[in-house]
Symmetry: C2
Subunit: 546 residues, 2 copies
């Protein structure tokens, strides 16, 4: 925890609120509950509302505002180009701007905005009054109170009044906050099953799709493609690569699918969902790329034989690893030649940006948006790095030539990604290093796999001193155990010692509270009294203690 004031350190997320007692509002329920427990440090609460409708209207409004800015920029440009009066841009009001009456764009957008603003204000009122959900954000006047509340059991029934650390406001997944305790559990298991099935049997739907989308079938379904497909050269290429294309499309969509599934679990923060997706992706890559390629044959068959005789896993690894050394050597080399090359040069974003700047962007805001590099994408980067660690570790005893490749990969990675992370990408959220235990566990799992492979490989070569290697995995396990016991908890929970450190400045509770109001509900015009429905007033004017 830094000495800077960070709103999330003063807040906790409360979920699974019990049913409302008669004649009480959600706000009163939450306020009276937390005031009783924290009479001195409770500041205020914010009941979570269903913002879908308000968000929709807000986005519409923002869309029109952008379009207005663009139309004005176009108008201003036309003015400067010789003609002092300029040409006012026009648009068609119908479908996609292609049909309908042609009207003056600036006037039209101004009208639309005028129309939407009262609609948004009305929706904001309705949302705050009538769309309150069974979850809330509770704010405390001290970091210690918030940190300790997030770690303590509040109600005797664990599935009511679940309190946890509040994520940063920008990474809150509002739609997940209302999902109840046991529903979250069930969703989690359902997602695990779906992911397991996807990982194990993903080849089946891809096979089906590529079987169905042969060229002849395509011609039948999409007859307008006929002239294209009938070109002989193209036909040959397509016929050879259609299954691969299906696979590539699947692999490109997989991280998004996994992130979607992770969000479906009911996780309240984006950073957590990314972490969960990254874990799932890691299993996919290790099982399919590493184990899949190594063991050859189908994954499922191998699992069955290992289940029958668990001790055979060492032999299976030792026997099948050596054959694929070359494949993985090229794999690692390709990753840093092509992957880091593209990463460092950022050729694709560069081309796209310049195309956009030339032909599409008219306003400052649009240019900024076109330039925006996004965040580092931990969800796919971390698992693929972990895969390389696993590969390099395991092959280092079979084909030591892989070691320099691994060294180059990670040395370049350190230089390049450090640069990209610090100077190019814009982080979308701050997770306070919670990715690290996740990575640590996978690193050590790779280490253990390597040590076991080494044992099996040296054993199968009848190396006499192989017995000396037996302490290695045991020492690794002890190391993991100590690390997990000693450090893990301070990643998942905030230590009170840290939370009680002095702050640089006196926190402004009002500012902290407002930082959690979603944009679509945060209107300059709406005066404070309207917020009182979902956002509690309790102790707002009270003095506040650091």
């Amino acid at each position: 925890m830094s000495p800077e004031v960070r709103p999330q350190q003063f807040a906790v997320l409360v979920r699974d609120l019990p049913d409302l007692p008669k004649g009480q509002s959600r706000k009163e329920q939450v306020d009276s509950y937390f005031k009783a427990i924290y009479p001195d440090t409770f500041y205020r609460s914010m009941v979570v509302t269903n913002n879908k409708e308000a968000n929709k209207i807000y986005e519409e409004l923002e869309g029109y505002k952008k379009k207005l800015a663009r139309a004005e920029a176009v108008y201003a440009e036309s003015k400067s180009a010789g003609k002092p009066e300029g040409t006012r841009p026009t648009i068609k009001t119908g479908f996609l701007g292609l049909l309908g009456k042609r009207v003056d764009a600036i006037e039209y957008y101004n009208e639309k905005i005028k129309e939407i603003i009262p609609k948004l204000e009305a929706e904001q009122k309705i949302t705050l009054k009538e769309k309150q959900l069974g979850a809330a954000l509770v704010f405390f006047t001290s970091r210690v109170a918030a940190a300790s509340a997030a770690q303590s059991l509040h109600a005797q029934l664990v599935d009511t009044w679940t309190v946890s650390d509040a994520p940063e406001s920008r990474e809150l997944i509002w739609n997940n906050l209302n999902i109840k305790f046991f529903q979250r559990q069930i969703r989690q298991y359902v997602v695990y099953v779906i992911v397991a099935l996807t990982i194990m049997f993903y080849m089946i739907p891809i096979g089906l799709i590529s079987a169905l989308t042969t060229l002849d079938n395509l011609k039948k379904i999409l007859p307008f493609l006929k002239p294209v497909i009938n070109i002989t050269a193209l036909k040959t290429v397509l016929e050879a690569y259609l299954p691969q294309i299906a696979l590539i499309v699947f692999l490109a969509l997989l991280p998004k699918l996994l992130l979607f599934l992770s969000k479906t679990e009911g996780i309240p923060a984006v950073s957590h969902a990314v972490r969960a997706a990254s874990g799932k992706y890691f299993y996919f890559t290790v099982l399919n790329v590493f184990i899949g390629v190594t063991v050859g044959g189908t994954l499922f068959k191998t699992f069955k034989s290992i289940e029958k005789d668990p001790n055979s896993i060492v032999d299976v690894l030792a026997n099948s690893l050596p054959g694929n050394a070359t494949f993985f050597l090229t794999y690692v080399a390709l990753q840093f030649f092509v992957g880091y090359g593209l990463e460092l040069s950022r050729i694709v974003p560069l081309i796209i940006y310049h195309l956009k700047r030339k032909y599409l962007c008219k306003t400052e805001a649009e240019l900024k948006e076109a330039w925006f590099p996004g965040d580092l994408g931990y969800g796919t980067r971390v698992p693929s790095d972990m895969l390389i660690v696993t590969i390099v570790f395991c092959y280092s005893c079979i084909a030591p030539l892989i070691i320099p490749f691994g060294v180059v990969y990670f040395a370049l990675g350190w230089l390049i990604l450090r640069n990209q992370a610090l100077k190019v990408y814009v982080p979308a959220y701050e997770s306070y290093g919670r990715m690290w235990p996740h990575m640590f566990l996978r690193l050590v799992a790779a280490l253990l796999l390597y040590q076991i492979t080494m044992l099996g490989y040296f054993g199968s070569k009848k190396f006499i001193y192989v017995g000396f290697l037996i302490p290695l995995p045991i020492l690794s396990l002890i190391f993991v155990y100590i690390c997990q016991k000693r450090f893990y908890k301070s990643f998942s929970d905030t230590a009170l010692e840290v939370a009680s450190r002095e702050l640089k400045e006196t926190p402004s509770m009002e500012h902290i509270f407002r930082s959690y109001i979603p944009l679509s509900l945060n209107s300059e015009k709406v005066d404070d009294d309207q917020f009182e429905d979902a956002l509690s007033q309790a102790s707002r004017s009270g003095s506040f203690v650091v």
Copy 2:
């Protein structure tokens, strides 16, 4: 949590204090740490001291006091019996009161007490000043603060400043408080290994002992037993029963051994140690009585065959259970006829008490001690009841005759043990129902074992509708899962909602604090300033907030 003030609800136990910074005392270290985190609710701290020496002297003192009271009672009795001046009791000062000079008992004891009191006071001073250990009890002025502190992570390194619920002062195991985090972990594993070995291979040492202690060997080692052993009748009986006697002695000592081992783990509270011992004893009874008798042969062999083919466990159970139905029927019957008979009549304690009253006890205090029934002895009672549950469940489908026996056992148990618990035994500590989750898990494990046995048994009888039973274990597992998730945490941690309920009376913090001072350090004469070394003065005179 009841509305009564209970000192343990205001305190937390802090272990694994880090090394002392230079120039700071333990007291200052603890006080400054907790004052920084809890500026409003911290009351005072008590550094744990090594009280071994003080305890020894204190017990010596108490012993002499008891003996003095007894001597005075004897003297008073002799007075009333006709002679007005009475006979002053005398004792010998040497070994066990058998050798040495004969002196007047009352004078001798008075002298001894006078001698020891300053010694105790000196030792108290030394203990408080110089024997401070790396653990402390910290007191808060509010129950919520204590309950939430016990659940929160305080330092970033999990193995320093470990905070947990304070046990009641009467059940604190002072000697365990100073054991460090990782040492506790190691001790735990070592104890688990020892217990596992004891459970699996306990027949080996018993066999060895009974082989060594044949009568011929006994004669050689203890020649003075010769005349006794040479009586023919006695010789036959002894020869037949010596191995059984060794077994009985082992079984009688086992609960004590397990309790000792559990305490060695470094557990800070007696109730927790009893729970741990009870769990270990359950495994012993189930493995040796239930599985051992059922499967016949040696336990180890069966385990090996199950390990080779895990699916065979159902067949093993289904095939070997029926043969032993009669044995277990009599086992259950014996348990309630003999066990509850002895329990209800309390014949043995009755005889012992009357013998003691007649021949040994002279003073009121001694009579009370002779009458004292102790506590219910959860450590052995719970596991043996759990064993009966397991037996009755598993045999109910094979020999349904066992069901009425089971019903009678538990119906009688409810009547008798309820009476004994409420009216006879004196509880040694209050664990707030923490034994229940422990029992619940074993009850459900028995239920699952029963359902699997039933599946296997009906399956082996080729019952067609056996498939309908398959949902049963699945439903049980879901039930356990939901119960564990929903209720378990409120047994291990205090819900803040509960801790924030109103108290009947305003708690006296001074009283709460003093209730934790061990008897051997709590002297009327020692004035408060002396306590300042190990017992902190911080905020003692400060106003206090409920």
